[in-house]
């Protein structure tokens, strides 16, 4: 096991600017021992450390099978992430992880998979999408619903378009505010559910994004008779340690960093949407 | 010069605390008018202290000056204790001396290394100077830091320390802390001796002049918190009688009040103190001074720098003495029982006597305050010195040289312009 009480050096192998405020860092641990020992599951995250500035929790977006590099897609919003935006290929950062419980990959076996995301919520699910697509035969239909605030916020448009071409795969996009080059739906993600052809008793749903959006989708899906235990959400809370120690991420009795960040709906139902938890 | 009209405008005088301007009008080869214009945005401390409870006063007056907060706390505490009839006792008395040593060390070290010495050596700043005199600068910073450490021992921080209360201190340092400090003081002693020797080698203009020196004088100590007010012309009065002999008045060109002693400008500060209290220095300090070959009392104003170095040495020797005898007290302060009355406090701030008068009411609230800081007392003397020095330098000299000498003269007084002032512009008008 790699010690995660302190970071390990990683090199930025590649840096991709996805949109004016979003960038992807492709990382590789420099210590071969760490590199070999490291493995993760879709939905897990790392604590990324910027020298002298601090650490932030960031999901791993790459496919776990692509064992030589780990991608992180980051939106520059505040102190640490904005400073990280200045990183270039060849720069070094610190990485601790992987942390948390990822998506329930086993539970997808033989089922249709619905993935609903909002905002940059797509980052944590990209990994599971890639993971599933690499094991196409083991599950049924894949439906991807992605909502963004403004049409300009959509990153990875080509990727969505590529996925949309795959067999038994549907992609539906929506923006609260559309634009000239936006051929897709204008409005809430929930409206996309009408377009998707859902088979409630065969479907498992995974959600990620703003909690309001996830709550809305959850309610819609429950209305459509999806069993609660097949609804999965990925949560965000303030995290300092990443491993169930610092107490910041608690939501009721859960440590979101280690019990989650991915939860089944019944696990968190009682406090989901209660202001203050 | 004829009727050529020259105006030199130096936007900002460096290395003094604050902003002011110097206006010099030269007429027929003589200085016709000279004004040290101090623009101190008035902060009205004397006014807003009225009605405040005595408990707050040490914390409030400290904010008059970031360079000598201890001095303000000491003068005010003494004045209020005087008004209340509080006797803080021997432990507090000794510790106040130690506390004050800290301020002399830090303030003198800052002035010598960051403000004045670069003048003598021809640098604009300590950062430039450090490249050529790394050892000397390091030594200065070390002395400054030990001064800060003494202030922190009682007050937690060196600027606006929080440990002083009327009646003494809030908290007594632990013995182990004092022992740790003592060790540092012993290490600093040779630095201070070296500083005295080195300062004596700095080349300064040799230009004696006549002036009146004023300081406190104590029966058996070098003065800090107590004593009578004496002058080089035989004044010897109780501090309560200050206003009977000294006159404070406003001049149109300055927001800092000026003061005269029986109608004459006078000098306060290290040179005045040393000139008047040589016999109160302990032997080792006198010996070190004697080895420099410079004789005191001195009438060379530029010997102020050496006087500061001597006081640095003295402060370390004195601090060692106090720390060696340190005992934890039963209580670090005397209980205070407010009563109506007027009290006076006069202590030796790094820059000279700082005089306070506090009128208090029965609830322990302030009724009226008068504060006379050293820099306003030195102002008339500075103008006198500037006149003398610039004329001696020769008014026909280029403006730049006049300006440099003018600044040097001013800085030599270590004017605490925060207790008073701002931008220093030199306007030389030659008519």
């Amino acid at each position: 096991m790699i010690p995660v009480q302190y970071p390990h050096e990683a090199e930025i192998v590649e840096r991709i600017q996805e949109s004016p405020s979003v960038f992807t860092l492709r990382l590789r641990f420099t210590d071969p021992q760490v590199h070999n020992a490291y493995s993760f599951m879709p939905g897990q995250f790392n604590m990324l450390y910027l020298h002298g500035v601090g650490e932030v929790p960031i999901s791993i977006v790459s496919d776990p099978q692509d064992g030589c590099m780990y991608d992180h897609t980051i939106r520059a919003v505040g102190r640490v992430t904005r400073a990280m935006a200045a990183l270039r290929q060849g720069d070094r950062i610190g990485v601790r992880g992987p942390f948390g419980r990822g998506w329930p990959v086993e539970a997808t076996a033989g089922r249709d998979v619905l993935i609903a995301t909002g905002g940059l919520g797509c980052a944590p699910v990209v990994s599971i999408i890639n993971y599933l697509l690499a094991r196409r035969q083991s599950f049924g239909k894949l439906t991807i619903l992605q909502g963004v605030k403004h049409s300009d916020d959509l990153i990875w448009r080509e990727q969505y378009e590529r996925w949309a071409q795959l067999p038994e795969t549907e992609v539906h996009l929506a923006a609260d505010v559309g634009g000239p080059a936006w051929p897709f739906h204008v409005g809430q993600v929930t409206a996309l559910l009408d377009r998707a052809d859902l088979r409630p008793d065969h479907t498992i749903a995974m959600m990620c994004g703003p909690e309001g959006m996830m709550r809305a989708v959850t309610h819609e899906l429950i209305e459509r008779r999806l069993p609660e235990e097949r609804l999965w959400v990925s949560l965000e809370r303030n995290m300092q340690c990443g491993q169930g120690n610092c107490g910041h991420c608690q939501m009721g009795g859960h440590f979101v960093c280690s019990d989650g960040p991915v939860f089944s709906y019944p696990e968190i139902k009682s406090l989901f949407g209660v202001a203050g938890f | 010069m004829g009727d050529r009209n020259v105006r030199i405008n130096v936007p900002l005088l460096a290395r003094v605390e604050g902003e002011g301007a110097l206006d010099v009008r030269v007429k027929e080869g003589r200085i016709d008018e000279l004004k040290l214009v101090i623009f101190e945005p008035p902060r009205l401390f004397e006014k807003f202290l009225e009605g405040r409870p005595y408990r707050e006063v040490p914390d409030a007056v400290s904010r008059i000056c970031g360079l000598c907060p201890v001095a303000y706390q000491m003068s005010a505490s003494h004045a209020i204790e005087d008004a209340f009839g509080t006797e803080p006792g021997p432990w507090v008395r000794e510790m106040r001396r130690l506390f004050y040593c800290g301020e002399w060390l830090q303030s003198h070290a800052v002035h010598m290394h960051l403000l004045a010495v670069p003048d003598f050596l021809g640098f604009n700043s300590v950062i430039e100077m450090a490249a050529h005199y790394p050892e000397e600068v390091r030594r200065g910073l070390e002395i400054q830091e030990i001064g800060n450490a003494i202030i922190r021992l009682f007050g937690q921080r060196s600027v606006h320390p929080v440990g002083t209360r009327v009646g003494g201190f809030y908290h007594a340092p632990q013995k182990a802390q004092v022992e740790a400090l003592l060790e540092r003081l012993h290490r600093a002693l040779p630095l201070a001796e070296a500083l005295v020797a080195w300062t004596a080698t700095l080349e300064v203009p040799d230009d004696p002049q006549e002036f009146v020196a004023v300081s406190l004088r104590h029966p058996d100590e070098y003065p800090m918190n107590e004593g009578r007010l004496v002058s080089s012309e035989g004044l010897d009065i109780d501090i309560a009688d200050y206003q009977g002999h000294f006159e404070e008045f406003q001049v149109p060109h300055s927001s800092a009040l000026h003061a005269l002693l029986e109608g004459k400008p006078y000098l306060v500060g290290p040179l005045a103190r040393l000139n008047l209290n040589l016999d109160r220095l302990p032997q080792p300090v006198r010996d070190t001074l004697a080895r420099t070959g410079v004789r005191f009392p001195s009438s060379n104003m530029f010997h102020s720098a050496l006087a500061r170095a001597v006081e640095v040495h003295y402060a370390i020797v004195e601090a060692i003495r106090i720390c060696e005898a340190y005992q934890l007290p039963e209580t670090p302060y005397a209980e205070v029982r407010p009563r109506a009355g007027i009290g006076y406090g006069c202590t030796e701030a790094p820059r000279g006597i700082l005089w306070h008068a506090f009128a208090m009411d029965d609830d322990g609230r302030v009724v009226k305050v008068t504060i006379i800081p050293p820099t306003s007392q030195n102002q008339a003397r500075m103008e006198q010195d500037l006149r003398w020095s610039l004329e001696r330098l020769g008014l026909e000299k280029p403006d730049e040289e006049l300006r440099l000498r003018g600044e040097m003269v001013i800085r030599n007084y270590d004017p605490c312009i925060s207790c008073s002032c701002h931008f220093l512009k030199l306007n030389v008008e030659r008519l």
């Binding site: - | 290395r15 009682f154 009040l257």
Partner: protein
Amino acid sequence: MSKGKPRVAVHKFTSCDGCQLAFLNLGPQLLELAQLVDIVHFAEAGMVAPDAEVDIAFVEGSISTPHEAERIRAIRAASKQVITIGACATAGGIQALRNLHNASEWMADVYARPDHLETLATSTPVSEHIRVDLELWGCPTNGRQVIGAVRSLLFGAAPVDERDKICVECKRKQNVCVLVAKGEPCMGPVTRTGCGALCPAVERDCFACYGPSDNPNTGALAHRFRELGLSERAVADRFLFINNWAQAYRVEGLKWREQENG
């Protein structure tokens, strides 16, 4: 930040000079700092270029004269980042007590010829005049704060905004609470961290020289002070002191002052 070393200025307004000492008391670190940044203006330390364009302008002091009000606007125009240092620049300082009184009357009491003085009726924080990028609180601001800000900016990151309560630092230092163990009217529960909880460490009450914290429950603390035996006037004094012009304190203090006056 522009290429090469960032250019830094330290400006003084109405103040005691104490916050500039946060730099001058750095010791050897001051020389190190001078290697990392280009200190172009810092009059007290000998660098003079008040109008120079800079990346970071530190501003000490409140705005209390018409000339200062002009000067601060010029500094804003010439600086990428303006960082206020200390209670004067950030909240108007102790001298803002004049704002609650008739300043011209006061002036006449201190100076025989007040007409020789040019001053505003108020002493106000820099942020009432220009946009400020970062405020470092404290009377005085300390070296850790200024170095922390500079270092963060050198790393290309915004400095951390410290807004917890003094009590947090106080407990970390394992001080004995003076409010509980001595009944002192400690302002720690409504005051911002940064100093290191200095006052309780010497067995005395915090007097709020670091200004209001996040989410300050001034009303609850004022009531607690009353329970401890403070008069209405004494409660008002607690709030109307070093940071009297800071909104949270001003409102609470004036409330008690009015109650006292009936």
